[in-house]
């Protein structure tokens, strides 16, 4: 980690602040990640690929990603509608509801995990209803899906709300004066304005869901190849003292995370260029 080139400044504290920042960053973040990479590739690339390339690993990665995608899509649609309702409509307890949207951020994942399981297990309040209809939710992929929807719920709403607040009513009025129906206005004027923020929120929701552990392992059932999520597989490998195996999956997940982070940032840069407001 090289010393960045810093312009001389009369403000004191450069050494101390830079020192604390860089040393803590290195110790707490960079070193551990390096450790992961070293361990994962310690036996060479072929061994790494062999550890990742098993049916069980692929099933877990694929399951995590697929269910996270569906959850994120639900959150995209619901999140945009929720944001719209919270910003544009007036109804009792609106402010309370707005604050409550952050609950998945604040609630510990293990707490959410057992609560959701209790709710959707065959003898739980919602699980009972499902049973009467012939469904099973807990211990199936549906249970995982609900848990992933829960943890990703606030992301789209929170990124879209500020954008909705900024929309000038005059633009909507202009669209109406030009003869466009409300539906057309929503489709052609409002949605394109919201889209970048909505997609950012979608990607954040997806990234969060892919790595989620605590909310999911109680409700998941954890059957290999069926309902076993990738993070759980890492934990299992560690319990089997298979550190290189765990590291390999960890690196695969890290790669997915960084890929999504890159997409998020690219989307934000693109939207900022296009949408510099008039």
């Amino acid at each position: 980690m090289g010393q960045p080139f810093v312009h001389k400044s009369p403000i004191p504290g450069l050494g101390l602040s830079a020192g604390i920042t860089l040393s803590m960053l290195s110790l707490m973040v960079l070193l551990p990640i390096a450790g992961l990479l070293v361990q994962g590739f310690s036996a060479g690339i072929p061994a790494f690929l062999a550890a990742v390339n098993t049916p069980r690993t692929w099933a877990a990665l694929f399951l995590s990603f697929r269910l996270s995608l569906v959850a994120a899509l639900f959150n995209l649609v619901f999140g945009v509608v929720l944001a719209w309702v919270l910003v544009r409509y007036r109804f009792p307890f609106r402010k309370l509801l707005n604050a409550a949207v952050d609950l998945p951020f604040a609630l510990p994942t293990a707490v959410a995990g057992i609560a959701l399981t209790a709710l959707y297990a065959p003898n739980g309040a919602f699980g009972q209803i499902a049973k009467d209809w012939g469904f099973k939710i807990a211990y199936t992929q549906w249970g995982i899906l609900i848990a992933l929807i829960f943890v990703g719920l606030p992301f789209v709403t929170r990124t879209v709300q500020p954008v909705i607040e900024e929309i000038a009513r005059e633009v909507e009025e202009a669209s109406a004066t030009l003869g466009a129906s409300r539906a057309y206005t929503l489709r052609r004027v409002i949605w394109p304005t919201l889209a970048p923020a909505a997609l950012t929120g979608f990607a954040l929701s997806l990234a969060r869901a892919v790595g989620e552990y605590g909310s999911v392992i109680f409700i998941a059932g954890n059957i290999p190849l069926k309902t076993e999520i990738a993070p759980l597989l890492i934990v299992i490998k560690l319990e089997e003292y298979n550190e290189p195996g765990a590291a390999a999956i960890g690196i695969a997940m890290l790669g997915m995370s960084f890929g999504m982070l890159f997409v998020i940032n690219a989307a934000q840069v693109f939207s900022r260029k296009r949408m510099a407001y008039v």
């Binding site: 960045p4 810093v6 312009h7 004191p12 504290g13 450069l14 101390l16 602040s17 830079a18 604390i20 920042t21 960053l25 707490m28 973040v29 960079l30 551990p32 990640i33 390096a34 450790g35 992961l36 619901f78 509608v81 929720l82 309702v85 409509y89 509801l97 409550a100 949207v101 609950l103 998945p104 604040a106 510990p108 994942t109 293990a110 707490v111 057992i114 609560a115 959701l116 209790a118 739980g124 609900i146 829960f150 009513r169 009025e173 004066t177 409300r182 790595g211 552990y213 605590g214 109680f218 993070p231 759980l232 890492i234 934990v235 560690l238 550190e243 765990a246 960890g250 997940m253 982070l261």
Partner: protein
């Protein structure tokens, strides 16, 4: 002079028809009730299933006690350390000009995009007994993994960016003028910090610390990997909840969960209060 009796009710151009508004509002509230409120209510319902007395009795259990103590201990270390880092990093990034700021900020944000289990894994692989850093530490009698320091480190990893991210936008907006003015008046560096900077950022700092604390106390995935789940020693509240739940001690598990849920609600309330009173001094209400 005529009174209007329009053939249809007037609707402002920039809004939907009333039926659409009502339907959407009801649908949204209903879905939130199912997705958000039902789980929250369940926590308390299950905790109090056998009455308040039984519930409180489980908190007196030594296992719960040590879990609560450990959680508080971990937070007592992780949160201040991350706060110090956050302030230092924000100072470094906002008061000086240098190339590579975007890279630095991206690096600081890394924990946000890493799965908590992977975070714990990184700590285990880097500081565990099988690594050369770790084996040296074990030899010194300072094991990290399967011990409290490891839990602190894992908690710090996952909450690493919280304080910095709250402070940086606020300090960017406030600029350097205040500090520079104080310097011209002869104040020393620390004096400038405590009398000019800190008062300006106190609400953003409080906000960041609040979020950091909530996450540190509630962290599960990273701690599950690092702690070894040694009862009475390295079992934090979330870990203990898992253990109790898996042993079918439902009331005990949900009671501890209820305590954490109360903490979450208090966090949300304080957060909302801060956002409402001090919106202009918080990054959260300013995000571009």
């Amino acid at each position: 002079m005529s009174d209007i009796s329009p053939s249809r009710a007037f609707r402002p151009a920039a809004t939907e028809a009333p039926w659409a508004r009502i339907t959407l509002t009801i649908a949204v509230v209903a879905i939130l009730a199912v997705l958000l409120f039902a789980p929250l209510v369940t926590v308390f319902y299950e905790a109090l299933r056998e009455g308040m007395g039984a519930s409180l009795a489980t908190l007196a259990d030594p296992q719960s006690h040590s879990a609560i103590r450990l959680t508080l201990l971990v937070a007592a270390f992780a949160v201040p350390l991350n706060a110090v880092f956050g302030v230092a990093a924000a100072w470094f990034i906002t008061k000086y000009s240098f190339r590579g700021k975007a890279v630095l900020i991206t690096l600081i944000d890394i924990p946000f995009s890493v799965s908590p289990v992977v975070a714990g894994l990184c700590i285990v692989l880097t500081f565990g007994a099988n690594s050369w850093v770790g084996s040296w530490l074990v030899a010194q009698g300072m094991p990290v993994v399967f011990a409290v320091p490891g839990i602190v480190m894992a908690s710090m990893f996952v909450t690493f960016p919280f304080v910095a991210r709250e402070l940086i936008p606020v300090m960017v907006e406030q600029g350097r003028a205040g500090e520079e003015a104080a310097l011209t008046l002869g104040a020393s560096g620390w004096r400038v910090f405590f009398t000019v900077t800190l008062p300006n950022i106190r609400w953003a700092l409080l906000y960041g610390v609040l979020l950091c604390n909530a996450r540190a106390m509630g962290e599960f995935g990273a701690v599950a990997v690092v702690s070894g789940k040694i009862r009475g020693l390295t079992a934090t509240m979330p870990i203990t909840i898992e253990m109790l739940y898996n042993e079918y001690s439902s009331v005990a598990a949900f009671t501890l969960a209820a305590v954490l849920a109360l903490l979450a609600l208090v966090t949300l309330a304080l957060k909302t209060l801060l956002e409402w009173r001090y919106a202009d001094q918080l990054a959260a209400t300013h995000r571009p």
